[in-house]
Amino acid sequence: MTRGFRAVAAKEIRHILRDPATLTLLALVPVVMILVYGYGINPDPRGVRTAVVDLSGGPSAAAVVGAVAAAGPFTIVAPTPGGAGDLESAERLLLRGEVHQIVIVPAGFEAAVRAGGPVEVGVVIDGTRAPASGQAAVVMERLLSNLRLGSGTPPARPAASTKIVFGEDGRAAAAVIPGLWAIIFLAISTLITAASVAHEVETGALRILLLSRVSPAEIILGKIAPYVPLAAILAAAAAVFSGLWFHIPFRGRPADLAAASGLYVVAGLSIGLLVSTSFRTLREAVIAMTLTTILPSFLLSGFLFPVESMPRVLRVLSSLLPATYFLRVVRGIVLRGTALRALGTEAAALAGFAAASLGLAIAVLSRRRSRPR
């Protein structure tokens, strides 16, 4: 270890310890983020306000209505005794947003069931609530297609035994949380270094550092070193806290997750340094970081929308985000129990990101030394 590196690192540690209020805010990151994200992103449909319009009447129609009412995700708020006028009032409720979907048992349903013919139930959903309303419709389709009316034998069609594995049934939160770590770890690591460097850029302290005999590499490494354990502790706290709070099954090896997280956090810290050395104020750095790194990681990494469905341009953008790879790693290790060795491509990509963003940060700082603003 060089003297320059040690001096910068020691200075950085003093900076961290000198400002306990900021440190407290930092320490709250894992708890706040898990409590907010964990409850704020919930793909399981729940409390979907439903209006039922039964235009048929009869025991089979009543069975359909009963099944919808009994299903966990749906709350019937507008029970209507029948008649065409009810569809209109249900539509009005849908327009005002007081009802999220309308289940319509069509006229002649009962007769069709008795004849053994094909029967259909109509579901009108509020498209302004996509994609959630579509997910609720998926649950409804499943519920209705599994419903058997009368006492006939099930039809001879190829019946599948479908099993959704790794997602704890009906508890999507368990599958969401590990994916969230990809976003939370990134936010923690990029914001920490951004805050620290941007302040020095603004006060001119960085310029003095650059004039000293300490090399850009020593500055960057010295600045990152103290934050690696800090970010690691915060990340581990976020993982442990949310794992216990939401009862996440941990199927893989913790050491694998720690190794992957280490690479990811170093990449995040370097990105934070890179962005903040490229801008003049913390304000610009934070805005740039949010727009170019954190928000895209949320929407492009495959956390909310599958990468496979994206057009080529977006797949390329997605492949440029470390979060994309970490998301795959964390879902594999935590939920599927996959070994890190089986996720070699992703692990290599994370290592590449860490090295590249460190190198780039050093390069930007060197350029800044030769051409100060």
């Binding site: 907010v36 959903i125 034998t153 805050a195 496979e308």
Partner: protein, 399 residues
């Protein structure tokens, strides 16, 4: 008006920094284009591994029907032995479908295979739709076979029994369930909130750090004048985003704007005012930019996630009291509701009135509370990070 010079100074300060102008104006719009593109992409091409061990006409039809589903893409067959879970382990496939010869019995005589579907549940946002698409493909098999081949082979799968209930789903206001229509307005609101909060919040605390705030305080401007003088230009920044973002959504992604712009404006102005006030309050109370940044982050994430932007507010478990509370008092939620109603449902001022009233109430409360906090923060003097700066402060620290 004494606040005019301050407004002018704030605007000049933003315009002087070319990078900041680019970040405030150009980058969010580029961002909106990229993210809107993500949202307008339908689910498709989800990789599914298929193993047909039965090799009967029925099983071949199943393979064909699964391959024909736009949601699914059949990828190379998987090793026949071993657990299906192992084939899913590396995440390259999202489901494994295995067709095995049925055990002796009528199904075997008819060539109907045993179908085992194993879906990877680690992506809960898509696993349900994926399972349904496979199920729907199986449902089409009997019909397709009956249509295509001679009746002798396949009258059987249509044997009478208790009917299976089909579902006809109709999505109103957004027939293709395009996420960009539903989430686009929220995305504009999110970018607006984010930028306004950061630009405003970090402006005041920066003056404190650089001690130009002291200069401002000795000019004799009252706290209210400083509050308005700093706030009004920032409101302009926020409303500019709305004015640029909504037409962009309409022009580029074809998001409809069916209602009148009036309720939209009636929602946006108080909302932006509330965001700016809150940011000023946080900024006045914080000691340095880092604290402002973290507090702003927490506040914004809570506002955005407990608003129904990503997943509905109703999905929040009843036990999460903190989340329910934020959702109940969330102005972003009301803004989102108004913009969805106006843009997609064609609502006017009348239909959105309850939301506008609640929004106005919430924003008035937030604005008033923010001003009180702001004044207290200003009065507290100018604590600085360095001990010497503290001694230089013009206003003494009150205890």
């Amino acid at each position: 008006m004494r606040i005019l010079p301050l407004v002018r100074k704030e605007l000049a300060e933003i315009l002087r920094q070319r990078e900041l102008v680019a970040l405030i104006l150009a980058v969010p719009l580029i961002e909106l284009l990229i993210l809107g593109y993500v949202l307008s992409t339908p689910l498709k091409d989800l990789p599914v591994a298929l193993v047909d061990l039965a090799r009967t006409p029925v099983s071949r039809e199943i393979v064909r029907q699964i391959g024909a589903s736009p949601l699914l893409r059949v990828v190379g067959a998987e090793p026949r032995s071993g657990r299906a879970e192992d084939a899913l382990a590396d995440g390259r496939r999202r489901a494994v479908v295995r067709l095995r010869p049925a055990a002796a019995g009528p199904a075997r005589a008819m060539g109907i295979p045993d179908v085992q579907v194993t879906v990877d549940g680690t992506d809960p946002f898509t696993s349900g739709a994926l399972a349904n698409a496979i199920d729907a493909a199986l449902g089409r098999v009997a019909g397709a076979l009956a249509e295509r081949s001679s009746a002798t082979v396949v009258a059987v799968p249509l044997a009478p029994g208790s009917p299976r209930i089909g579902t006809a789903v109709l999505a109103r206001f957004n027939p293709d369930l395009r996420s960009v229509d539903a989430m686009g307005p929220g995305l504009v609101g999110l970018l607006l909130t984010l930028l306004t909060f950061f630009v405003t919040g970090l402006s005041l605390v920066r003056e404190r750090e650089q001690q130009t705030l002291d200069t401002l305080l000795v000019t004799g401007l009252t706290p209210l004048e400083i509050f308005l003088g700093k706030g009004i230009p920032m409101m302009g920044v926020g409303l500019l985003h709305l004015a640029a973002g909504v037409p962009l959504l309409a022009a580029w992604f074809g998001v409809p704007f069916r209602g009148s712009p009036l309720p939209m404006l009636a929602a946006a102005v108080p909302y932006v005012a509330a965001v700016v006030s809150a940011a000023l309050a946080v900024s006045a109370l914080a000691r340095n930019q880092r604290q402002t940044m973290f507090v702003s982050w927490y506040a914004m994430i809570a506002l955005i996630l407990f608003s129904g932007f990503l997943t509905p507010v109703e999905s929040i478990p009843a036990a999460a009291v903190h989340a329910r509370l934020v959702a109940a008092l969330n102005p972003f939620r009301e803004l989102l509701e108004v913009s969805r109603q106006v843009m997609l449902k064609g609502a006017g001022t009348g239909a959105t009135a309850p939301h506008l009233a609640r929004l106005a109430g919430l924003c008035a409360a937030a604005g008033a509370a923010s001003f009180v906090a702001f004044r207290r923060g200003l009065r507290r003097g100018a604590p600085s990070r360095s001990p010497r700066g503290r001694a230089d402060a013009v206003t003494p620290r009150s205890s």
